[in-house]
């Protein structure tokens, strides 16, 4: 069952044609990864889905509903939340306040409380630092915070933009473990990564993006074996 359907989307930055007829689908319960080089349009894709950018052509459907007429914050209400590129935590607010903002649009106090507990048990480090100003967290902790904050929206679909960026290998591994765990608990994930190696291990399916177009799309296993992917994204000859 397709949760997200992106159909022939064209997105522009002024005259720059960043997405040239991109299509992809994400099924309920899946982890789908979108890999591509710098400037391929990965972030642009996520921003188009989340409604921050509006496509000039094509459509984005979430749960069988066209998102064209909804503004970015309304799309969050529908169940799409984002872990932005570079984490985008509110560095001058505390950890607790950051998480609370993730649940900004919700008013089910009991549910929010439960989700706090869930996030804190997923990331005990965040609980220890809940009163600390987020800007003073380490890079890995900030990534946990950004992920936890996105979870606080109780999303059905979570968009993650390069969560492994700038982290030590050991932390990268634990981030991917967390992604797996979040998915196991029922959240669908669209994961943008340059670290194709790790992404293709955790994901079920993958898309390869090149200069605004999908050039390849297959199951994660097949992509891992694909010659072009091996050469261009896995650093193997």
């Amino acid at each position: 069952m397709a949760l997200l359907v992106v159909k022939d989307v064209h997105t522009y930055y002024g005259k720059i044609h960043a997405l040239k007829g991109l299509s992809l689908t994400v099924d309920e319960g899946e982890i789908v990864t979108l890999i591509g080089a710098n400037g391929a349009g990965k972030t642009t894709t996520l921003r188009t889905i989340s409604g921050v950018l509006k496509p000039r052509d094509g459509s984005v459907e979430f749960d069988n509903e066209d998102l064209a007429s909804f503004r970015a914050h309304e799309i969050v209400y529908k169940g799409v939340s984002m872990v932005p590129e570079g984490r985008g935590i509110f560095s001058r607010l505390t950890v607790f306040e950051n998480l609370d903002l993730g649940a900004y649009h919700r008013d089910d106090d009991d549910g929010i409380k439960q989700d706090f507990e869930k996030v804190y048990s997923l990331f005990p480090r965040l609980y220890e630092r809940r009163k600390q100003v987020a800007g003073t967290l380490s890079g890995g902790e900030q990534q946990m915070l950004a992920t936890g904050r996105a979870l606080m929206a109780r999303p059905r679909l979570m968009l993650m933009d390069e969560p492994s960026m700038g982290l030590a290998p050991i932390l990268v591994e634990s981030i991917f473990d967390t992604i797996h765990e979040i998915n196991q608990e029922g959240t669908t994930i669209l994961l943008v990564e340059q670290n194709a190696h790790m992404a293709l291990q955790v994901a079920h399916r993958g898309y390869v993006l090149q200069t605004g177009e999908i050039v390849l799309h297959d199951s994660a296993e097949s992509l891992r074996e694909n010659e072009m992917v091996k050469k261009a994204y896995l650093g193997m000859e």
Binding site: H73, M82, P84
Partner: protein
């Protein structure tokens, strides 16, 4: 703090003093200027040395650095004064270039008479004395730094536990209150020529120290007890003060209301609004036009008898909120500098409308005979009544603002200030929270405006110039962004003090400028910032401190 830093600080000090010189402070004040300058040098030294973060320096090096600051500032000023003196002795009219530099100016700084300056008597002894004075001031400032840092260290480590020091801080406000009261007692002479000015100064210090005491309270409950105590004392105050004092306190309180309102827009939501006076003006004119007997606006409606203050107030509030939303909509997409410029323009447009829509607003002639507020038959159209009303407004506005700040909306404003894009991705409706910020800030200003109209009785477009926006913005910057106590303190310092020191009034803008520059360099968070602001701007110090504390 090394020698180079000291020289640099000395040059900055000199720059400020030169600025005051060129504006003619010495010529206006005569020889007391030297005392004023000496005090400035001492204070600046203290500030410069204190904020260098190096607590490891010992007393001698603090004294040495202070001396260097003083000598540099003194020598530079002497050099300039010497050049002026030579030119004046040669009959060159310096004042043709620098409008305020007369022989009297040189005379005030060197202690010889203006005639002697023109006659070419050597000014060197005077200049040496001046430099010496500055050096001593620098040394004293440097020494005071030591006291200061030792005291703050003690504060950090002990004050929380040492009850004596704490009681002193908490007791100070009462001391100043008592000093003020003692002025009222027949036969007690504290030695001020102008008793009511001295009384006001005691009141200001009383309120300021009470604010610091509230801030220093170590539990939420204690804070509430002191806040209530302060409010009660302040409510009694207008009974003890005279007309003149009440009038000044009334102006202070009206600006407190505006400061708290602008805090929402600038301090919480981070939207730089330079046209805040527009809403103040709209509030004032809304009430005035709908209530004044010869109002140009509604004179032709026979069935309309005019509003009273209490019916006019909600109208003013609504007009303010509507104007806030109206300004908000076109500027929603703007950020930073652009927003500042557009709001600046908006403020001027409103004033020009008041000035030019003669048929509706009365134009430059203003609106005359605005009725005063009546409560249970009592006419509050006197300084005491206005002061009470203004205090009531300030308390209500402060309460509402605190509630807003602690609500979800308040949190969203902070997120907006940090990163608009991410805030939106968190499901925050940027449009509505920006409009909420503009609207609530504007509403508070409009309420202040209506009260202002009642206070002034006659209002004119000239009451609503850009200067008012600058006043309000400066007072929240100096008092401390995002904090209600800060708005009170800022208003006392920037609205109350200049009213008292009438003779300095012309220099108000200069003083603002200098004060703002110094504050931005040394204490960017303001005097009494919100705890959050302080954390933001000093998080580095804190981590360093906690790291060293952990050692």
């Amino acid at each position: 703090m090394n020698i180079r830093d000291s020289i640099r600080s000395g040059l900055i000090t000199f720059g400020l003093i030169l600025f005051l010189n060129l504006l003619g402070l010495p010529r206006t004040f005569g020889s007391p200027t030297i005392i004023l300058f000496t005090v400035i040098v001492g204070l600046l030294t203290l500030l410069f040395l204190r904020d260098r973060h190096d607590r490891k320096y010992d007393l001698p090096s603090s004294l040495l650095n202070g001396a260097i600051i003083g000598i540099v500032a003194g020598l530079m000023l002497s050099l300039v004064t010497f050049i002026f003196a030579r030119m004046q002795a040669d009959g060159i009219q310096v004042k043709n270039v620098f409008a305020q530099i007369f022989p009297e100016h040189t005379a005030a700084l060197t202690g010889i008479s203006a005639d002697d300056v023109i006659a070419g008597v050597s000014v060197l002894p005077g200049l040496i004395k001046l430099t010496g004075l500055f050096m001593i001031a620098g040394i004293l400032g440097g020494g005071a730094t030591r006291l200061f840092t030792e005291r703050t260290q003690a504060y950090r480590t002990q004050l929380a536990t040492s009850s004596a020091a704490r009681w002193l801080v908490l007791g100070l406000p009462f001391l100043f209150y008592a000093l003020f009261l003692s002025l009222k007692i027949e036969g007690v002479d504290i030695g001020g020529s102008d008793e009511n000015i001295l009384g006001l100064i005691f009141i200001f210090i009383f309120i300021a120290s009470a604010l610091f005491a509230i801030r220093g309270a170590n539990s939420g409950r204690e804070r509430i007890v002191y806040s209530i105590g302060l409010i009660i004392l302040i409510l009694i105050l207008p009974q003890l003060t005279d007309l003149f004092q009440n009038a000044i306190l009334g102006a202070v309180a009206i600006f407190i209301v505006m400061g708290i309102g602008l805090n929402i827009v600038v301090g919480y939501a981070g939207l730089l609004d330079l046209g805040y006076v527009a809403f103040f003006g709209i509030g004032a004119y809304s009430y005035a036009l709908l209530s004044a007997p010869k109002s140009y606006f509604l004179v032709n409606l026979p069935w309309f008898g005019g509003l009273t203050f209490w019916t006019g107030l909600p109208v003013a509030l609504l007009m303010g909120v509507a104007a806030g939303v109206l300004l908000g909509i076109p500027v929603l997409r703007m950020r930073g500098d652009y927003l500042a410029i557009v709001t600046l323009g908006f403020g001027e447009i409103i004033r020009l409308l008041m000035l030019n829509l003669r048929d509706y607003t009365g134009g430059p002639g203003g609106v005359l005979n605005v009725p005063s507020p009546i409560v249970f038959g009592a006419d509050l159209g006197n300084p005491k009544g206005i002061l009470y009303l203004a205090m009531l407004f300030a308390i209500v506005v402060a309460f509402l603002t605190t509630r807003l700040r602690d609500s979800r909306l308040g949190r969203a404003w902070l997120a907006l200030r940090e990163d608009e894009d991410v805030a939106q991705a968190m499901g925050i409706n940027l449009v509505s929270i920006k409009l909420m910020a503009f609207a609530s800030g504007a509403g508070f200003a409009a309420v202040a405006g209506a009260l202002y109209a009642a206070r002034q009785v006659n209002i004119f477009p000239d009451n609503f110039t850009l200067l008012v926006s600058i006043d309000v913005l400066s007072l929240i910057i100096i008092g401390g962004m995002g904090s209600i106590e800060g708005a009170v303190l800022g208003s006392l310092a920037l609205i109350g003090l200049p009213e008292i020191l009438r003779s300095v009034n012309e220099y108000r803008i200069v003083a603002y400028g200098a004060l703002l520059i110094i504050m931005m360099i040394l204490r960017p968070e303001g005097l009494l910032p919100s705890a959050r602001r302080q954390r933001e701007l000093h998080s580095e110090d804190e981590t360093v401190e906690s790291a060293s504390a952990a050692d």
